[in-house]
C-alpha cells in the first residue's frame, strides 16, 4: 500500500528522482540504414541516430532498447504497442502525422536520384522516362515516385531496404534509385559506388510528400513523453551536443533550415 502511494506521488509530481527508469522500446528499421543506424557483427546498433537516441534517453532518464522492426511495418508496430518510439530517420509528413505524433525534426536531407555512371537520366518526370526506378517500401520516396514518375518510368520497383536497391543499381537491374541523399552518401563514396554509379542531384521539392525533415515518431496519446523528447532535443541542439554527434559521421550540417 505504502509503496503504491509513493509511486503515485512520484508520478504525480512528475519527478524523475532516483526511481527506476522507465524502459522505452525504440524502433529502428531492421534493414540497415548507414550512417544513421546499422548493426555490426556483434548485433549491437550504432550510427548517428543511435547516438542521438542515447543522448535523448539520458536526458529524459529512460532506458532505451533498440528494437529492429521491418520498415514497412514500423508504424503499425508503434500503434499496436510493440515499440514506444520510432527513431528510424522517419520523415514528418502530413499523411503519417494522421496516424502518429512526431517530435520536432532533428535532421533534414533532400531526396535525390542515383543512376548508372554516364546515364542521361535526370531527376524529373521526363528525365526518368523508360527507366527502372527503385524505391524503398514505405518510404516517402516510394510515395514521391508513385506520384511523379509512375506515368513516365519503365517500372517502379519496391525494395525492402536501401542497400538492396543500391546493390541492384550496381548490378544494372535498376537504372535509378530514388532515396535519401545522406543515406546514399556512404555508397556513393564507396569504391563500388564510385565505379558504377553517380549522384544526379535532388528531385523537385514537394513538402506535402517529402515532408519536413526527420523526427521521432510517438503514439498520439503519449503527449507527456512527446513534450519531454522535444525538450531534450532543444537542449541537445542548444548546448552543442548535436554538432558533436554530427561531426562524427558527416562533414556537412544535416539539420537543414
Amino acid at each position: 500500500m505504502f509503496s503504491k502511494l509513493t509511486l503515485a506521488a512520484v508520478a504525480a509530481l512528475g519527478l524523475a528522482g532516483p526511481v527506476m527508469a522507465e524502459t522505452l522500446k525504440v524502433g529502428v528499421s531492421a534493414e540497415p540504414y548507414p550512417p544513421f543506424f546499422t548493426p555490426d557483427a556483434s548485433g549491437s546498433w550504432s550510427g548517428w541516430e543511435i547516438d542521438l537516441m542515447n543522448e535523448i534517453c539520458t536526458r529524459i532518464e529512460a532506458e532505451c532498447v533498440v528494437t529492429p522492426i521491418a520498415w514497412d511495418g514500423i508504424i503499425p508496430a508503434l500503434t499496436t504497442g510493440k515499440i514506444d518510439m520510432i527513431m528510424g530517420s522517419m520523415t514528418i509528413t502530413p499523411a503519417r502525422a494522421e496516424q502518429i505524433a512526431f517530435s520536432d525534426k532533428y535532421y533534414a536531407a533532400p531526396t535525390g536520384l542515383m543512376t548508372q555512371k554516364g546515364s542521361d537520366i535526370e531527376p524529373t518526370a521526363e528525365g526518368v522516362s523508360g527507366a527502372f526506378v527503385g524505391a524503398q517500401s514505405g518510404s516517402i520516396q516510394e510515395v514521391y515516385a508513385n506520384k511523379y514518375y509512375a506515368d513516365t518510368a519503365g517500372a517502379i520497383r519496391i525494395y525492402q531496404n536501401l542497400d538492396e536497391e543500391l546493390q541492384d543499381l550496381a548490378a544494372g537491374r535498376l537504372d535509378a534509385v530514388i532515396g535519401d541523399t545522406l543515406a546514399m552518401q556512404p555508397f556513393a563514396e564507396s569504391e563500388a559506388g564510385q565505379a558504377c554509379c553517380e549522384y544526379k542531384g535532388a528531385v523537385e521539392p514537394d513538402p506535402e510528400v517529402l515532408g519536413y525533415g526527420a523526427g521521432a515518431g510517438l503514439r498520439q496519446e503519449d503527449t507527456e513523453l512527446l513534450a519531454r523528447v522535444n525538450k531534450a532535443l532543444a537542449e541537445i541542439r542548444e548546448d552543442g551536443t548535436y554538432d558533436q554527434i554530427t561531426q562524427k559521421y558527416f562533414t556537412v550540417d544535416i539539420y537543414g533550415d
Partner: protein, 242 residues
C-alpha cells in the same frame, strides 16, 4: 568470382559475421522449438475439439484449420503479429494493467505456434482416429476420467501414428522461422541478409546460412527416425500381420 570470396567475413569475432550468424541460428532454433511446442498444445486441443467437442467447438476448430491451411504463412504471421499483441495489450489495459510486454521471441513463438497449430490439429486428429476404439473404451470402462483417458491412453497410443506427420511439421517449423525475417525478427535469415547487404558478399552468406539450415534438417531427420523406430516398437508386428 571465387578468388574474391573473403572467408574471413565468417570469422566468429566481431568484424566477422560468423558469431552473429550462429546467434541468429540459435534464435531460429528457439523460435522453431517454441512455436512447435505451442503448435502441439494447440493441436491436441484442436483435435479434441474436432473429435469430442460440441457442435460449435467442432465448427470453430474446422474454421481455424481451414483458414490456416488456405492462407499464406507470411500473411498469417503479419496478421497474428499485429492482431495478437494488439488484442493482448488492449485486454491488459482494460483490466487495468499497463500493457503486457511482448518481447520479440514470445511474439515470434506465438505467430509460429498459431500457424503450426492448424496443421498439428489435423495430424493429431488423424492419429487419434487410428487408435483402435476398443482401447479408449476399455480405459473408460475402468472409470478413468476423460482427462486421464487422454493422458494415459489416447495420447501415448496415438504417438506412433502422429510421428511421421509431426516430424514433417518440425521441418516446416524450422523453415517457417525464415519468414519472420520479412517482419523484421532477427533470426538466421534476417542476420544473413544484414550481413550480406553490409558486406555485399551475398553468395557467401546465403550459402553459409543454407548450410546451417540444411544441417539442422539432416540432424533432425536422423533423430526423428530413431525416435520413430522406438515409438513404433509395439506396432511393427501388427503391421506385418496385416
Amino acid at each position: 568470382m571465387f578468388q574474391s570470396i573473403d572467408f574471413s567475413l565468417l570469422a566468429l569475432d566481431a568484424p566477422g559475421w560468423g558469431g552473429a550468424l550462429l546467434q541468429g541460428f540459435w534464435r531460429s532454433i528457439q523460435l522453431a522449438a517454441g512455436g512447435y511446442a505451442m503448435g502441439i498444445v494447440i493441436g491436441i486441443l484442436g483435435a479434441s475439439a474436432k473429435l469430442y467437442g460440441g457442435l460449435v467447438m467442432r465448427d470453430l476448430a474446422q474454421v481455424y484449420t481451414t483458414v490456416i491451411r488456405a492462407v499464406p504463412e507470411l500473411v498469417l504471421m503479419l496478421l497474428f503479429y499485429y492482431v495478437g499483441t494488439d488484442l493482448l495489450n488492449r485486454a491488459a489495459q482494460s483490466m487495468g494493467f499497463a500493457g503486457i510486454e511482448v518481447d520479440g521471441l514470445a511474439a515470434g513463438i506465438l505467430v509460429i505456434g498459431l500457424v503450426q497449430g492448424g496443421y498439428a490439429t489435423e495430424v493429431i486428429r488423424g492419429a487419434i482416429r487410428a487408435v483402435p476404439h476398443g482401447q479408449i473404451e476399455a480405459a473408460q470402462a475402468f472409470g478413468m476420467s476423460p482427462l486421464k483417458v487422454m493422458r494415459r491412453v489416447t495420447l501415448p497410443a496415438m504417438t506412433p501414428h502422429a510421428i511421421p506427420g509431426m516430424a514433417n511439421l518440425w521441418m516446416i517449423a524450422t523453415k517457417d522461422t525464415a519468414l519472420l525475417a520479412v517482419i523484421g525478427f532477427s533470426e538466421l535469415t534476417q542476420v544473413t541478409r544484414q550481413a550480406a547487404s553490409s558486406t555485399r558478399a551475398y553468395f557467401l552468406f546465403f550459402l553459409s546460412a543454407g548450410a546451417l539450415y540444411l544441417m539442422l534438417t539432416l540432424v533432425s531427420n536422423v533423430i526423428l527416425r530413431r525416435y520413430e523406430v522406438r515409438a513404433r516398437r509395439g506396432l511393427i508386428a501388427a503391421h506385418q500381420a496385416r
